[in-house]
């Protein structure tokens, strides 16, 4: 009995989550990196809470961005190396759907946890609890877009040398809008003002990337597994 693509998508999602949990360390590393980077700024600048509160939006977003980029390297690499990725391409199921499943699994393992522990870091930067829903929402939307756009770079650098740095170099300019809108939304949330404007823009970016990025990522992966 033939399997439709929705079921195939769920299978891929489940597989990636199971694999990640079996490897354990992988899930925790981006979070640890996020925490360490966030610690660097007070050490490098000042422990003064009022100044930290001012730079909190920037720190949160840059740290989240860098942590996500680190994790992005593994999105396709493991499967490309043991040849399971090319089996996706010849499975008879739409490759875009399967890759989207992998991207979503990646987000569940990286972006979502980052968004969840961000409030902890925010507290360390003198942010009050009222700001948390706004921070959380902005990071959820931003990290979704990050995973989607990052998948393109991850696919493109599959066959390339020095892929780690190259991946970051390629992806960073493309995600600048996310950082701009996300940090602004976070800043407004921290100041207790309405953040609807930038939040809507962030949501619009997420929707746009959900529609377009998977197609580009599919083309990129096909080139990468040749």
């Amino acid at each position: 009995m033939r399997v439709g693509w929705p079921r195939a998508v769920l299978l891929v999602l489940r597989r990636d989550l199971v694999l990640a949990f079996r490897r354990g360390g992988e899930v925790v590393q981006p979070l640890a990196f996020f925490a360490v980077v966030s610690t660097l700024f007070p050490l490098a600048l000042t422990p003064e809470m009022s100044r930290l509160r001012d730079i909190a939006p920037g720190v949160l977003w840059v740290a989240a961005l860098l942590s996500s980029l680190l994790a992005l390297e593994h999105l396709f690499r493991d499967d490309a190396q043991d040849r399971t990725l090319e089996q996706f391409a010849v499975s008879g199921q739409p490759l875009t759907a399967l890759l989207l499943a992998k991207t979503m699994a990646h987000w569940l393992l990286t972006g979502l946890p980052l968004a969840l522990i961000a409030p902890l870091v925010a507290v360390a930067y003198g942010v009050t609890l009222e700001a948390m829903p706004g921070i959380w929402l902005a990071l959820v939307l931003g990290t979704i877009t990050l995973s989607l756009v990052g998948a393109i770079g991850a696919g493109l650098t599959l066959g390339a040398r020095r892929s780690g740095v190259l991946l970051s170099l390629l992806t960073l300019p493309l995600v600048i809008p996310i950082v701009i809108f996300g940090a602004r939304a976070t800043e407004l949330a921290i100041q207790g003002e309405t953040y609807a404007g930038p939040m809507y823009l962030l949501a619009a970016l997420a929707v746009l990337s959900l529609t377009l990025a998977p197609l580009a990522a599919t083309v990129a992966v096909r080139i990468g597994i040749e």
């Binding site: 393109i152 493109l156 650098t157 066959g159 390339a160 040398r161 020095r162 892929s163 190259l166 170099l169 390629l170 960073l172 300019p173 493309l174 600048i176 809008p177 701009i180 809108f181 602004r184 823009l201 970016l205 746009l208 377009l212 580009a216 083309v219 990129a220 080139i223 990468g224 040749e226």
Partner: protein, 245 residues
């Protein structure tokens, strides 16, 4: 409609010949217009009431900025054509554009900074246009970096083509977000040289320079394209004949 001309465009030896023949048609007018534009801009145009003579750098800055964007679009379009219709020559065009585009972006940044120094007292401000040009430079560098990271030239072509297309879709979004960011923070906004409010004798040399730079770019592109085509086809017999001449 007879599409043979389009298909001939896909043939490397044909492109090599045509590019060679067309180059002087762009190079000479470019040189003349450059001379005319520079004379008009540096000598004929009156000094700006606010900036004195300092504004004259716009005659290099604005065309380079405009061109840096135009070249990126050209690169993306030809890369897209190469990707979809699998034309090797289209990929060669994209490859030839990259370095030139990066240089023009750099020129626009440097001239922007030189312009800024007398106006704001510092070499750099986070002005939306300068910042957007900086990001554009990163996009170019990323494209060139991706190309170099592949051993297989076909994969280099196709991967960088995807990047170029993704990049060109992103450029308007990036520009919009940078403008938005700038307006939020009310950073020193710049360049009172809004084109509509420019008097004619300032405007005309600017347009002349714009045209001159464009022709210059096409000439450079044609020359680089010939070199690129030769390098790609170096094992083909027609190339050996050309070199033997």
């Amino acid at each position: 409609m007879d599409w043979t001309w389009f298909h001939r465009l896909g043939s490397p030896p044909h492109v090599y010949r045509i590019a060679g023949r067309l180059t002087p048609w762009f190079a000479w007018p470019a040189a003349l217009l450059l001379a005319a534009g520079l004379y008009g801009g540096l000598v004929l145009a009156p000094p700006d009431y606010q900036q004195g003579d300092g504004f004259r750098i716009i005659y290099v800055h604005a065309p380079s900025a405009w061109l840096s964007l135009m070249i990126y679009s050209t690169m993306a379009i030809s890369a897209g054509i190469g990707l979809i219709w699998r034309m090797k020559v289209a990929h060669a065009v994209a490859a030839s554009c990259a370095g030139v585009g990066a240089w023009f972006t750099l020129v626009s940044l440097v001239t922007g900074m030189l312009w800024g120094k007398p106006m704001w007292g510092t070499y750099w401000v986070w002005d939306p246009r300068l910042t957007a040009q900086l990001i554009l430079l990163f996009l170019y560098l990323g494209y060139m970096g991706l190309r170099q990271a592949f051993d297989d030239p076909q994969r280099a072509d196709r991967a960088s083509a995807v990047l170029a297309v993704v990049g060109v879709v992103n450029v308007p979004i990036i520009r919009y977000s940078v403008e938005w960011w700038n307006s939020i923070h009310q950073a020193p906004s710049v360049m009172k040289m809004e084109r509509p409010s420019m008097p004619v004798d300032m405007l005309v040399p600017l347009l002349v320079m714009l045209l001159a730079f464009t022709l210059c770019f096409v000439a450079i592109l044609l020359v680089r394209l010939r070199g690129e085509v030769l390098a790609r086809e170096r094992t083909a017999s027609w190339v050996r004949e050309v070199i033997a001449q």
